[in-house]
C-alpha cells in the first residue's frame, strides 16, 4: 500500500484517536476569493468531482470545489439510524414522470461533500469490456468513445485508493482486489448457499469497505448501516478517500454553496466561472476551467438553466443532447422466508454478488443482462416493501414481526439508454427561484424482460437455499447518463476526455457522461472516468 500513500495520502490524514474528522486540516484549508481566477472550479464534491479535485490539487492546480450540501463530520452529523439519515439525500423538489417514474431522494441522490457515495451500499464492481461497445456487439445502447482498456489503469488505481475487498473476480476482465473478502453475515450465507445449490457462481465482494486497517481508517464493525453514512470511516466515500488529500495539497472545499449558473463569455465562447448562492448571497467564482459534477439530474439541470444568447436552449445543448439518455437500473428485490433467523441487518448490505448473467445470452430473447447482489434492507425500507406488496394494518405488522426470518437479494438490470428518458425543466421553482428538474422515465420491452429474468433467478437461488416463500418488489437503482460522452457533438455532450464539445474549457466529470451502464454499480466507474479526465487536463488539455 506504500504506493497508494505516495499518490493519495487521504487515509493517513484522518485522525487515529477514534474520532473521524481531521478538523485541523479543514480549519487550515486554503481559501480563495471570488475574484481570484482559480485554475479550476468543480461543481459538486461527489465521486467524480472529488476525484478530479484531488488529482489536480496534487499537480499544483489552484482548485475550488463547490457543493450544495454540508461538509460532513461523521461524528456529529450522522446517526446509526434510518429515519435520522434523511439529510444525506438530495431532497430539494424534483418531479418524476413517464410511464415508469423513478423515485429519487434516498434511492439515488446525494448531497454534501462525498455525494451519494456517503450513502451508497459500497459495491464497486468494474464495468465489463462489452459495456463499452453494446451498439457494435448487440445492436442496443451506444458505443463509448473510449474502451475498457483506456479505463483499466484508472480502475486499478481507484481500487487501491478506496480500497476494495473481494474474491478474485472471474467476470468481465478477470482481476483481483487489493484486500481479501470480508466474512459474510446471514444474508450473504443464504446467497452463497442458494447459488451453490443451483449451480450459479457467486463471489464475496467487491466492496469498498476496508477489511483491516487502512491508513488511519479502522476495520469495518459490521453494523449494517452502510446506507446511513459510515460513522466508522470503514466504507469508502470521497469525503475520506480523496478530499483530505486534496485539502493537504491546497484545494478549497466551499460547502453549502448552490451553483445556479455557469458564466459564459459570448465573445470568446468560453466559460468564465460559476454563479452560486451561499448564505443567501449571490456570488461568482472566476475560473479558467469549469467542471460540472452534479450527477445525472443536477448536471443537465444546471446546463439547461445556463442559457445565453449563444446557447438559447441551455449550455452545450446545440443538438438537443443535454438531459437525454438518462438511465436507471431495474433493481427488483426478491426476498425469501426461512424458518431460521437470518437477521440480515447484521453485516453490511453489500456482501456477495454474481455477474454470471451480466452478458448478452444468445439463447435469450433479450439483449444484455443483470447482476445479483445481497441488499439487506433495514426496517423502514423493509416496511415500505411490505406496503408496496399491498399489506397494511394488522397484516403489515405481522409481516414486519417476521423480519428476522427474511433474506433479500437485489438485481441490477441493464436498462437501455433511450433518448426520451431525460431531464427537462419543470414549471415549479426551487427556493433559489430556479426551475426544478422533471425526470421522465419509461421502460422498453427489453428492460421488462430483464427484470422478469432476474426475478426468476433470484427466486431460484432463494428456493435452493431453503426458502419456503418468496416475494418480489420492483424498484430502481442508480443513475447514469444525461450528458453522455460520444464521438461527436451530434450524439453526446462531451468527448472521451469529459470535455464538452461546445465550450472548450467546460468539463463534465460525473456519472452523467456514461453512455451505457452495464449491470454494475456505477461509483467506481464514475471515479475512474473522472481520474482519466484529470489525467487529460494535467497533460495539457487545459
Amino acid at each position: 500500500m506504500a504506493a497508494v500513500r505516495e499518490r493519495n495520502e487521504s487515509a493517513w490524514l484522518l485522525p487515529n484517536d477514534g474520532s473521524r474528522t481531521n478538523h485541523r486540516l479543514r480549519e487550515d484549508m486554503r481559501r480563495f476569493a471570488d475574484s481570484d481566477l482559480v485554475d479550476l472550479v468543480v461543481v459538486g464534491c461527489g465521486a467524480g468531482g472529488s476525484t478530479l479535485l484531488q488529482r489536480l490539487a496534487r499537480r499544483g492546480w489552484q482548485v475550488v470545489g463547490l457543493d450544495a450540501g454540508p461538509f460532513w463530520d461523521p461524528d456529529a452529523d450522522w446517526v446509526s439510524d434510518e429515519a435520522g439519515s434523511h439529510h444525506l439525500y438530495w431532497t430539494e423538489p424534483r418531479v418524476i414522470s413517464g410511464t415508469d417514474p423513478v423515485p429519487m431522494g434516498s434511492n439515488n441522490s446525494g448531497r454534501g461533500v462525498g455525494g451519494s457515495m456517503v450513502h451508497y451500499a459500497g459495491y464497486t464492481p468494474r464495468f465489463h469490456p462489452s459495456d463499452f461497445a453494446t451498439w457494435t456487439n448487440d445492436g442496443v445502447g451506444a458505443d463509448w468513445p473510449i474502451s475498457y482498456r483506456d479505463l483499466r489503469p484508472y480502475y486499478e488505481d481507484i481500487e487501491q485508493e478506496l480500497p476494495v475487498a473481494g474474491e478474485d473476480w472471474p467476470w468481465g476482465d478477470p482481476h483481483s482486489y487489493p484486500q481479501r473478502p470480508h466474512p459474510v453475515g446471514g444474508n450473504g450465507e443464504i446467497f452463497l448457499r442458494g447459488a451453490y445449490a443451483s449451480g450459479i457462481t457467486a463471489k464475496v465482494g467487491p466492496v469498498a469497505i476496508s477489511n483491516g486497517r487502512f491508513g488511519n481508517r479502522p476495520h469495518c464493525i459490521y453494523r449494517g448501516f452502510c446506507l446511513q453514512g459510515c460513522k466508522v470511516n470503514a466504507k469508502a466515500s470521497p469525503l475520506i478517500t480523496h478530499i483530505p488529500d486534496a485539502l493537504a495539497h491546497g484545494a478549497e472545499i466551499r460547502a453549502n454553496s448552490m451553483v445556479t449558473g455557469i458564466g459564459f463569455d459570448e465573445r470568446t465562447g468560453r466559460a468564465t466561472g460559476v454563479h452560486y448562492i451561499r448564505g443567501g448571497v449571490p456570488r461568482f467564482q472566476r475560473a479558467a476551467v469549469v467542471a460540472v459534477a452534479g450527477y445525472s439530474i443536477e448536471t443537465p439541470r444546471l446546463l439547461l438553466n445556463s442559457a445565453s444568447r449563444r446557447f438559447p436552449d441551455g449550455m452545450c445543448n446545440d443538438f438537443d443532447q443535454v438531459g437525454r439518455y438518462l438511465m436507471v437500473q431495474g433493481a427488483p428485490q426478491t426476498a425469501g422466508r426461512f424458518a431460521a433467523e437470518v437477521r440480515m441487518y447484521k453485516s453490511p448490505p453489500p456482501e456477495v454478488s454474481s455477474e454470471q448473467f451480466y452478458e448478452t445470452d444468445p439463447g435469450k430473447p433479450y439483449q444484455r443482462g443483470f447482476s445479483i447482489q445481497t441488499v439487506s434492507p433495514l426496517p423502514i425500507t423493509w416496511a415500505e416493501h411490505m406496503a408496496a406488496q399491498g399489506h397494511w394494518g394488522a397484516d403489515l405488522r405481522r409481516y414486519m414481526s417476521d423480519y428476522v426470518h427474511w433474506s433479500c437479494l437485489g438485481a441490477l438490470c441493464e436498462f437501455l439508454a433511450q433518448p426520451g428518458n431525460r431531464v427537462t425543466l419543470a414549471e415549479e421553482k426551487d427556493r433559489y427561484g430556479l426551475p426544478v428538474a422533471n425526470f421522465s422515465y419509461s421502460q422498453c420491452d427489453n428492460d421488462k424482460q430483464l427484470v422478469r429474468a432476474a426475478q426468476d433467478v433470484m427466486e431460484q437461488i432463494l428456493h435452493a437455499a431453503g426458502a419456503d416463500e418468496v416475494i418480489t418488489i420492483d424498484r430502481y437503482a442508480h443513475l447514469v447518463g444525461g450528458a453522455r460522452m460520444a464521438s461527436d457533438e451530434r450524439h453526446g455532450v462531451v468527448d472521451g476526455n469529459c470535455r464538452s464539445f461546445a465550450v472548450p474549457n467546460l468539463y463534465i466529470t460525473d456519472g452523467s457522461v456514461l453512455p451505457t451502464q452495464g449491470a454494475a454499480n456505477p461509483a467506481l466507474t464514475i471515479m475512474a472516468v473522472a481520474a482519466r479526465g484529470a489525467a487529460h487536463l494535467t497533460a495539457g488539455g487545459r
Partner: protein, 219 residues
Amino acid sequence: MSGPAEPGTAPRISDATGDRFPGFNVLDQVSHWDPVTAGLVLSRVGRPPDIRFFSPAEEAAATALCDRLLGQGGEPKVAVVPHIDARLTEQETDGWRYADMPEDRQAWRESLRFLDEDSRAACSREFARASAEDQRAVIQAVQDLGAKDWHGLCAAHVWSLWTRYACTAFYAHPSAWNEIGFPGPAYPRGYKNPGVDAREPYEVADARPSADPLDGKGR
C-alpha cells in the same frame, strides 16, 4: 408514545403480533450507542412534537388513517401523526413527487379531505368518527383502485404517499423495533456474531418462528 411511559423506555405497543420477542427491549442498550444517535432515538420516546401543520379536522383524519394503516388500536401506541406533521411543517419530503400529484403538503391535505368525503358518503360521518370497520372499508376502496383515479388523483400514488410517511414514522420507533426483534443503532459496538441463527447476547430469539405470515399460521 401517547400512553404512559417511563423516560427512556419503549413500552410494548398494543398487540398485533403476539409478542414474538418476549423481554426484548432495545433501549436496554442505550449506553452502548454513540451520543448523537442515542439523543435522536430517545427523542422519539419522549414528548411528540406539537401539531403545527394539520388543522384539527385533518389531524383527526390523519390519526384515524395511520391507526388503520399501521394496525394500531388501543393504547399504548406509537404517535405517528405528530412526526408526519413535523415533516410536512419542515417540508422534509422524500425529494421527489409524481408529476400527477401536488406537492406533499397539498397532497396530504387534499387526500384527508377526500377520506372525509368518502366516509360521509358511506356512513354519514367524518372519517375520524366512523367505526374502525367503516374506516378500513374506505381505505380498502382506495387501495383497490390501483392506478385508477381517486378524486382526481392517482390512487396508487396517494397510497404511496400515505404508506411512505406512515411506515417511516412507525418503524423509526423503538417500540416497533421491539416488536420485530431489531436492535436499532449499532455504533460504536457493531456486531460480533452475524450469520444464520446467530445472535448477540442481547438479541432475543423469535418465540414463534413458525408464525410465517404467508401461510396464515401466524394469524
